[in-house]
């Protein structure tokens, strides 16, 4: 495949069947490898789309400063787009976010403003909104409420999945900004009214503080419950277990939120097996495991040790 520029290479990611983790020959699980985007995460799609739509309608003009509350991937994607397009970018992120993420943002030239760890992403969103008021000339694309976030998935991710898997019965993704589920969900519904749209949300159990794009009590403006068929709440032990299964059984090196989505995909798969139905279940691999290596979860000798190793670490 040939593209005119790195930014043009966003999307068109592979969809691969997982022969070992699929529950049966009739109930198949497919991974959409969004880590194959230019900066290594699904967020390249909404970031680029939000920037280009803002350029189109004149909100973003040469010399502008972009402002965004982000705990990582969206900021990294926006920072690359900003670098290549010549914008200044300021990211607000919780002060306890991992060093890998800070360096990734810094290397694309993003300026980082730390928000207090307490309140996590909620606090980052609040601080960013305050900064936006103080700097009316800064442009906050605001992934949690920008329809172009979901619009990116409606325009690209959804059509790609349907083209590759016309027999799709289930779509599963993590519930963060909700952009992926809303955009892909709406597109698939229009073409396959019976498709099941399944959210996998992290469970705030005793084990870890992190694994959160979203904190409890915060509902992104993009969220529309009517798009979802059902929601899974995935404990961090299950998310870690599935992340390791994906690596060891299928050779896919993914981040922890992907383990949560896979857990929900397998849950829906088991229900299909029990009901004697066939199924084609697609789920999103949101990013690779690189940014989470320092947790030690991939190399721990046992899953129990991996779960213990990530205890108390903030992943998002």
């Amino acid at each position: 495949m040939r593209y005119d520029s790195p930014l043009a290479a966003v999307g068109n990611t592979p969809l691969v069947r997982l022969p070992r983790l699929s529950p049966s020959e009739e109930v198949r699980i497919w991974a959409k490898l969004e880590d194959r985007n230019p900066t290594g995460s699904v967020k390249d799609r909404p970031a680029l789309h939000m920037v280009e739509q803002a350029e189109k309608d004149g909100r973003l003009t040469p010399g502008c400063t972009i402002l965004e509350p982000t705990s990582g991937n969206t900021g990294i994607s926006l920072a690359m787009a900003a670098k290549l397009k010549g914008y200044r970018i300021v990211c607000v992120m919780p002060e306890n976010t991992s060093e890998e993420r800070r360096q990734l943002l810094a290397m694309w030239g993003a300026e980082i403003i730390s928000s207090p760890a307490a309140g996590g992403s909620n606090t980052a969103v609040r601080v960013a909104k305050e900064l936006a008021e103080q700097h009316p000339d800064w442009v906050m694309l605001y992934q949690y409420g920008n329809p172009d976030n979901a619009g990116a998935h409606y325009a690209t991710t959804g059509p790609e999945i349907l083209a590759d898997l016309p027999s799709i019965t289930h779509f599963v993704a993590g519930l963060g900004t909700t952009g992926t589920l809303m955009g892909v969900g709406r597109y698939l519904r229009e073409h396959k009214p019976d498709v099941k749209i399944v959210a996998a949300e992290p469970r705030y159990d005793d084990l870890v503080y992190g694994l959160r794009n979203l904190d409890e009590g915060f509902v992104p403006e993009l969220y529309d419950a009517s798009v979802l068929t059902t929601r899974f709440s995935v404990g961090s032990a299950d998310a870690v277990t599935r992340t390791r299964d994906l690596l060891q059984q299928e050779g896919i090196f993914a981040g922890v939120s992907t383990g949560a989505a896979l857990h929900a995909a397998i849950g829906m798969g088991r229900k299909a097996v029990k009901a004697g139905e066939s199924a084609d279940i697609a789920f999103v691999v949101a990013d690779g495991g690189w940014k989470y290596l320092s947790t030690g979860l991939y190399t721990a000798a046992t899953t129990e040790e991996a779960i213990a190793a990530v205890q108390g670490q903030l992943w998002a």
């Binding site: 519930l175 949300e201 469970r203 005793d206 409890e216 009590g217 915060f218 509902v219 969220y223 419950a225 979802l228 068929t229 059902t230 929601r231 899974f232 709440s233 995935v234 404990g235 299950d238 857990h263 929900a264 849950g267 088991r270």
Partner: protein, 92 residues
């Protein structure tokens, strides 16, 4: 039939501090009634007027039962039920 029920910290006063207990029942409503026989007081913390309390989330094999059949959701041997407090303004 045995169903594992994971108990949130806030309700462990009813289970002698146990994080998980076993119960039985054909539906969630039956299961909570069964728990009540050994853990007096717990049912009223989960169920109110025949419905799940507003600020309690219940998951069957990690799936939110509000997207299934609520308190009438049917159970099978080996199922796992998780009870969690919901936060006001949560995404329900």
């Amino acid at each position: 039939m045995a169903i594992e029920v994971r108990i949130p910290t806030i309700l462990r006063t009813y289970t002698d501090g146990e994080k998980a207990v076993e119960g039985s029942g054909a539906t969630l409503a039956d299961l909570f009634a069964d728990l009540e026989t050994r853990h007096a007081g717990i049912e009223a913390r989960i169920v109110d007027g025949g419905k799940l309390r507003r600020f309690v989330n219940v998951y069957l094999n990690d799936e939110d039962v509000r997207f299934l059949e609520g308190i009438e959701t049917k159970l099978s041997d080996g199922d796992s039920v998780t009870i969690l407090p919901a936060v006001a303004g949560g995404m329900v």
